[in-house]
């Protein structure tokens, strides 16, 4: 039993295929979805979506976005995202430093806060990815 999944960023499709199970960072916390799940609609926090199929797992990092679950189809859309395998730890850390700087300069700005959240999530995802590659 599997559910069709598509993960789409505004500039390119990131992943399409089937999944036995997927997890993501929903508005109220981390969630997991199996095939035949009831319809669900949430926004996403910056972070990874994990798509498990059989023995394999694929990871996509998204800067936010929305996720819709229907019984036979899960759609994930985000303005920006990338496959976790393409995240570089050093550029991510660089981005985080810049975001922290901006957030201290301008602590009230929602845009600055968002950038900081994205940068933190990307560094975390880069770390996870590095650990996965070592295993």
């Amino acid at each position: 039993m599997a559910v069709r999944v598509r993960v789409l960023a505004s500039d390119q499709p990131l992943l399409e295929g089937e999944a036995d199970f997927l997890t993501f960072r929903g508005a109220d916390g981390d969630l997991g979805v199996l095939p035949e799940h009831a319809p669900l609609l949430t926004w996403l926090k910056p972070g990874e979506v994990t798509v498990r199929q059989g023995e394999g797992e694929r990871y996509v990092f998204l800067e936010g976005g929305f996720l819709e679950v229907l019984p036979d189809l899960v759609t994930v859309v985000a303005e920006r995202g990338q496959l976790s395998t393409t995240i570089g730890l050093e550029p991510a850390e660089e981005e985080l430093r810049a975001a922290q700087e901006r957030a201290t300069r301008d602590p009230e700005s929602p845009a600055a806060i968002h950038l900081l959240e994205v940068a933190q999530a990307r560094v975390a995802a880069a770390g996870l990815q590095r650990r996965r590659e070592r295993e």
């Binding site: 500039d11 969630l31 009831a38 669900l40 609609l41 949430t42 929305f66 019984p71 859309v77």
Partner: protein, 290 residues
């Protein structure tokens, strides 16, 4: 009768123009390829966003966002996506004509416009439409952030301005030779038909709650549609421009060929006349000697 020198000058002028149009054709071709790649890569996202809100319009019950509710009254808002520059054949004219006739039919001559691109902005001022917002100089690598002010202007025209409908008009890129003027209603969100989309009596589970999700999703949907329309325009524009410039170059070539022919005839006529004069002179001399 034009002198040989006039014709030669004319040929030179046209050859210069031809060089320019040929260069423009090549530049447009290169940009077109990149724009085409972007529009193809971005299309699935726009389609998915559209399907998602259409699903919500069909099965969502807990909270009916204003974008999902049909209104009887209020002005129409047209998001008009055109290019800043011309030399692209009838691309913008076709879009403007299709958009204007839809708006006239549904809202009369005093509708509101959010103009993306100079051609549409100029048109709106000429027609004395109410321009809520305009934007020129959108880059080829258009980003969501770049379009955010335009999207916000549109969303608030509906939420606060009491608009009845938000309509998006742009030339859809089909291929190099075909760009289809497209006019579609964004808001109120057209719901899925009975046959399409999710088949369920139940509503979604919303996280964190229906209202909060939809208040984010609906503007994001408009943004996705506008972003995609701009990409469609860019691919359409460079295709149309490339074709227009190719036609111009080949027309220039035709004119040059024709003018060269005339020039040669004039030159030949001159030579013949001179020969006649020489022969005539020689004969007269001979006659005089006898």
């Amino acid at each position: 009768m034009a002198t040989l020198r006039d014709i030669r000058r004319h040929i030179r002028a046209i050859r210069n123009i031809e060089q320019i149009t040929r260069a423009m054709q090549m530049v447009a071709a290169a940009k077109m390829r990149r724009a085409q790649a972007r529009v193809t890569a971005g299309r699935p996202y726009a389609v998915a966003m559209e399907e998602m809100v259409a699903d919500v319009a069909k099965i969502g019950k807990e909270y009916r966002h204003p974008f999902l509710v049909r209104r009887e009254e209020g002005p129409g808002v047209l998001i008009l996506v055109t290019s800043d520059r011309g030399l692209a054949g009838s691309l913008n004219v076709n879009t403007l004509r299709a958009a204007h006739s839809y708006m006239l039919r549904n809202f009369g001559p005093r509708y509101q416009v959010v103009a993306l691109g100079r051609k549409g902005w100029d048109f709106s001022r000429r027609m004395q439409l109410q321009v809520l917002h305009h934007r020129v100089g959108i880059t080829d690598q258009v980003s969501p952030e770049e379009l955010r002010p335009s999207v916000e202007a549109t969303v608030s025209a509906f939420l606060e301005g009491g608009a009845r409908e938000v309509v998006l008009a742009y030339p859809r890129f089909r291929n190099l030779l075909s760009q289809v003027p497209t006019v579609k209603v964004l808001v109120p969100v057209p719901p899925r038909s009975e046959a399409e989309g999710p088949h369920t009596d139940g509503d979604y589970i919303y996280e964190p709650d229906a209202r909060a999700v939809l208040e984010r999703l609906m503007p994001a949907y408009v943004e996705a549609e506008v972003l995609h329309a701009v990409r469609e325009l860019q691919a359409s524009f460079y295709s149309a421009q490339m074709v227009a410039m190719r036609n111009a170059s080949s027309a220039a070539g035709d004119v040059i060929r024709e003018l060269s022919l005339t020039a040669n005839k004039v030159r030949q006529a001159g030579i013949t006349r001179e020969l006649m004069e020489i022969i005539g002179g020689a004969e007269a001399l001979q006659a005089a000697r006898r």
